[in-house]
């Protein structure tokens, strides 16, 4: 099985113009490296869990979260309707907010990146907005939108949109003049210059922006739920911690982490599969 795989890799290596044996050796080396990375991660993860468990057992009262306690609570939390309702509410809101932020942020970013006057007019305010802790606005937003999921959505969009605007604007600014020259020389209408040149050329920047936005969006969602007591994972965590059920809260936290990693993984996958030209360039 493994020799078959190795010979397959050699064929690919030869097709790519590389020396077959070197290609096979490279493939074997990268397989070895992947295994090493996996083992190192596993060891570190187990080490942290053991340390946490030992410290919790030695120094902390029984209600403090610990790995065995979290594991023990998994079935109960997994069977809890309220947990799934909270998870669905938060994650849907984050996805929705990200989608809105991506659309508006891309348009705003491209306009700022491509039109110098608009960039000059807006940059100071976008910068200030970025420097400001958005969570400080949550009390205001709960007054404006009420203690509703709309307030949470507004927080998520505001958190997520800024890195996207910045990143896409950078992409628009650094757009090669040669590309726009080609478009003009071939008489592209203005909307094809924006949609056909500026947008795809900025796509890697957009994805980098989304990568940054996902963490901020989750912060916004959780804080909004804390303050507005909205159904969601943030409130689930708050409620359970206050009821001395830290292990349950930790499960919700883990869902947030897994979700963030999954979105970032999807972004990375899209860069590898959808933008082969970007990785190579």
């Amino acid at each position: 099985m493994s020799t078959g795989l190795a010979s397959g890799r050699r064929v690919i290596g030869r097709l790519a113009g590389a020396n077959g044996d070197a290609g096979g050796a490279r493939a074997a080396a990268s397989r070895r490296e992947r295994t090493q990375v996996f083992l190192a991660r596993l060891a570190a993860g187990l080490g942290i869990l053991v340390l946490w468990q030992v410290c919790a057992m030695a120094f902390a009262p029984a209600y403090i979260a610990r790995p065995t306690g979290i594991l023990g609570q998994l079935p109960a939390v997994g069977g809890d309707q309220a947990f799934w309702s909270a998870a669905g509410s938060t994650l849907l809101a984050v996805v929705e907010g990200l989608a809105i932020a991506i659309v508006i942020g891309t348009v705003l970013g491209l306009v700022m990146g491509r039109m110098r006057d608009i960039d000059r007019a807006l940059r100071l305010y976008v910068d200030s907005f970025y420097a400001m802790p958005i969570v400080a606005l949550v009390p205001l937003l709960t007054v404006w939108f009420g203690y509703t999921p709309t307030a949470r959505l507004a927080v998520i969009v505001m958190e997520a949109i800024l890195p996207i605007v910045f990143s896409v604007a950078e992409g628009g600014r650094t757009l090669s003049a040669e590309f726009t020259d080609v478009a003009r020389a071939y008489r592209a209408p203005w909307w094809r210059v924006w949609g056909g040149i500026a947008l795809p050329a900025s796509l890697p920047y957009l994805l980098a922006g989304i990568d940054l936005a996902i963490g901020r969006a989750l912060v916004g969602a959780v804080v909004a739920e804390f303050i507005a007591s909205l159904n969601g994972l943030g409130y689930y965590i708050l409620f359970n911690v206050r009821s001395f059920r830290e292990n349950d809260a930790m499960v919700a936290l883990a869902v947030l982490v897994v979700f963030a990693l999954a979105v970032r993984g999807l972004v990375g996958l899209f860069v590898r599969r959808g933008l082969p030209w970007y990785r190579a360039g």
Partner: protein, 278 residues
């Protein structure tokens, strides 16, 4: 081979171009016939590319005008194919997508573009690479795609900005001859900017020599070598004569440039002030 007596396809008439205080091109006048290849040579930084951009409508001259088929160029005109030094291929498009760009951007559907694009991809020797991305191709192959893109719009005018300058020597030799072969099959009024004197003589029916500061037309040389041309023309007496003449003129221009630079900037900027005051 001069076609000045007929109706020229490209007419550059007393063109002057300034960037701020600096005059780059001054009083440039020449014509290009409908199937003529005119090489533009001159020392580096003499404004060859600027001249080409004026013809392609990418920038506007400050004085004089460019007309194509009798119509003044005020924006990128129809039927002008442009080939770029660094190819200008879109990395997110395949070879097919890049070659068909000039057609699809005008609203032609991909399906309608297929026959013409297929044929051109074949003509430049890229069959089988339709679905490849530029980063998967060598420089020479990328410029073949750039060439096919320019030809796909069935151009009346081809403007080529040092198209082979970023290729290795062997690829360059090969592509020069292929370019000549393609232009026999699909004649177009061609402006060919190059800094290589040999290339200018090999490709051009006539050669416009730019010299001085700001650049002006020093001379227009009739190469006088019949087409179709092959590699063997470089050994001809006529080729050597024209090349040696170009060498003398262009090198003298470079020397003057150096001499002026060493005399200091004060005098040069005085001259600029006088010129702009006029």
């Amino acid at each position: 081979m001069t076609e000045l007596d007929g109706n020229p396809m490209i007419r550059v008439d007393q063109l002057t171009k300034r960037y701020g205080e600096r005059t780059v091109l001054s009083d440039i006048t020449f014509d290009v016939g409908p199937s003529e290849i005119v090489s533009i040579v001159g020392p580096s930084g003499c404004g060859k590319t600027t001249l080409l951009r004026c013809v392609a409508g990418l920038t506007q001259p400050n004085g004089g005008k460019v007309s194509i088929a009798g119509t003044a160029v005020t924006e990128p005109p129809e039927g002008v194919g442009m080939v770029f030094q660094h190819f200008g291929l879109f990395p997110w498009k395949t070879v097919f997508g890049n070659v068909s760009y000039g057609l699809t951007v005008q609203g032609m559907s991909r399906r309608d573009a297929v026959p013409r694009v297929r044929q051109l991809i074949g003509m430049v020797g890229l069959e089988g690479f339709e679905q490849s991305y530029p980063h998967q191709l060598s420089g020479g192959m990328q410029q073949r795609a750039g060439l096919a893109r320019a030809l796909a719009i069935e151009p009346r005018v081809l403007v080529m900005d040092e198209p082979f300058a970023s290729l290795d020597a062997q690829t360059r030799d090969l592509l020069q001859l292929e370019m000549l072969r393609i232009l026999e099959q699909r004649p177009a009024a061609t402006m060919f900017v190059t800094h290589s004197i040999d290339e200018a003589v090999l490709m051009g029916d006539r050669i416009v020599i730019l010299t001085g500061h700001p650049s002006h037309v020093h001379d227009i040389v009739d190469v006088g070598i019949a087409r179709p041309r092959g590699r063997e023309v470089v050994d001809s007496e006529r080729f050597r004569t024209v090349r040696d003449y170009l060498w003398t003129v262009v090198m003298k221009g470079q020397d003057e440039q150096l001499a002026r630079a060493s005399q200091g900037d004060g005098e040069a900027s005085d001259r600029h002030r006088e010129r702009t005051a006029e």
